[in-house]
Symmetry: C3
Subunit: 265 residues, 3 copies
């Protein structure tokens, strides 16, 4: 089965290539896919979001290796998680938090059996010496439960759920800004009342947005309008047709978003 | 057969990984190759040039997926093109224009049969939901004609051909600047008169170039000379040995190039 | 067997994709792995270091293609090297120098037999026209000795070995700075006296470092301390937990490093 890699290693060093060499040494027929290696260094939340957005596109039994690992070599546990018919390998530091929020059925195991590791295990590069060879063994058919004892409570992150203010306003945030400058909010369709598609008011960074489009390029729409749109990861996004919403609004990840429904007063 | 990907998605998001996951879900044995994901956002001409330069290196029946798609979700048609023994999948917005200029025999079909799509089809990410699964089906053996009705006239771009001025001067332009700063012109060997290899005068950005080299590093040549050379994509390029012609000449893509042959007056 | 690519081509052009297309045309079942394409343009030493750090992770009989080739088309020889149970293909300009320093048993051959090339061979892109098709042939089972006559003395680089000053001080240098800002020195465990783990003084860029950690994040250690650590490529590295040692010390590749052991006076 495929092995998908998600790291903060960048692509200028030997790190990613070395992980792939180790995977092919154990599982020569595996397809290795890069999700990205450009997670900002040690940004666990960014890795967790990107994994959440990517994994549903993969076939069952794919092995996702996530190495964003500020605590490499320290006390944090290396784990494998079975969830949503897929397998996830990496440090137990929250990178699997959003997947665990979504998948009710999940089992986790500590990577304890060093027969699956590459030796000698370095103190600084568990991606090459622990996570890659374990992923290769799993891709070649080993069971997650073979790797070590169960982990009852893998580390979670604060969930990506808006809260509701006293006045009924949804209080959300920008959880990701993509390559095109689209700003992804934490709002999902579950937060959206039935039958109120057209009447909403979204405030972010001093701007107010009232339009929800179906397509980026909508016939008759003003080209420089800032609008909301349901994005491909299932979240409401803020966009500009042919431009960067991030630049237009002057906002960044973490910016507060306020949303209310119904006609304005 | 291999599937080659060419997009403006960058490599920091989940977009490319999601497309690859979808391809492997349908065609688990396919080799997936990245041409590049760094086409400037929504730059159809740049995608068309890069595709033109890359596709001749691929084996017959390779499937090239091009997703540079400013009009995603709008009226533009998704198509598949058979040309030059290869298969091309993407939006009908001109990205296949230069391939169509070169390949006399080409057939195009609209991607109309949603059985080949990933469902639900999002409004914003046809790369994942239409182009990737269709490419996987084609790589797995489906025929382009199964995808939908013929498209008689796929969208073209202004062709990459110099024009000839009244005084016989070739009027060309810089169509690409590569990673090393080499400036690729629209001039091909078809534009070059037989037997006049040594006598030419090329003007671009205020500079005049009279030397056509065979190699970047030519014995006896001045290291900082700006020269012309036949590049690997079949076009005349402007280069500096060990440096960037783009920086030296202060030019950019689109700059006008004037070329005349014969001894200077 | 896998083919691993290491170039200075960047990833924005068609260069890498074209090489991969050529490889798959000859060896359709080969796994192609990118080490990196972000070697600084024409930086032979950087390519040689990255290759040295990456190749031990690969399975026997892997084919490593290195194209950092300032002299493409000129007199420099194209070669294949057998060393350390692996195969290396590229220009004979020093890119294999560090591998040759490490592997006692090595044989090199000139790429002379044009039956293995892609035709016509361009003057500017031997990556596509010579190195990729030769690598594919080797991956498909051809023997290095089939490629051409032996090369007795492939080009070497000044070796990565510290020298010892009159006062016993090791005189080394920074040979690489990685994505996280870790500064890799030329010091290996062979340079380290037995039993003197704790007492050392390392000077670089005006700073003095006395701590050698086992992990980046060590319990009880000051988070902003600059420390030394044995890195994953076998060299002593200079690091800051959660930050960039390069920025903290204001140093770059090539910076001098002085190391002495024993208690300070």
């Amino acid at each position: 089965m495929p092995v998908a890699l998600l790291t903060d290693f960048g692509t200028a060093d030997y790190f990613v290539g070395a992980m792939k060499g180790v995977i092919l040494a154990t599982a020569p027929d595996t397809r290795i896919i890069d999700i990205t290696h450009q997670i900002p260094p040690q940004d666990i939340q960014a890795a967790a979001f990107t994994l959440l957005a990517a994994y549903p596109a993969f076939p069952p039994a794919s092995v996702h290796v996530v190495v964003v690992d500020p605590g490499v070599g320290s006390e944090r546990r290396p784990i494998v998680v079975e969830a949503g018919e897929q397998i996830f390998v990496g440090p137990d530091n929250g990178v699997f938090g959003y997947v665990l929020d979504r998948e009710a059925e999940a089992r986790a195991y500590r990577l304890d059996d060093s027969r699956f590791f590459r030796h000698p295990v370095s103190a600084t590069f568990h991606g090459r010496d622990i996570f890659a060879p374990v992923a290769a063994a799993l891709a070649a058919g080993a069971a997650p439960a073979e790797m070590g004892p169960p982990v009852a409570h893998p580390v979670r992150l604060p969930p990506l759920r808006p809260s509701r203010g006293a006045d009924g306003t949804l209080q959300a945030s920008i959880i990701h800004v993509d390559h095109f400058g689209n700003c992804i909010t934490s709002i999902t369709r579950d937060d959206w009342p039935a039958g109120e598609d057209s009447e909403m008011e979204l405030r972010v960074g001093g701007s107010t947005i009232r339009s929800v489009r179906r397509f980026y390029a909508e016939a008759g729409a003003a080209r420089d309008e800032v609008f909301a749109i349901w994005g491909s990861a299932g979240f409401l996004e803020i966009s500009v047709d042919g431009g960067s919403a991030e630049e237009r609004l002057g906002i960044r990840r973490g910016a507060a978003v306020r949303l209310r429904f119904g006609a304005a007063d």
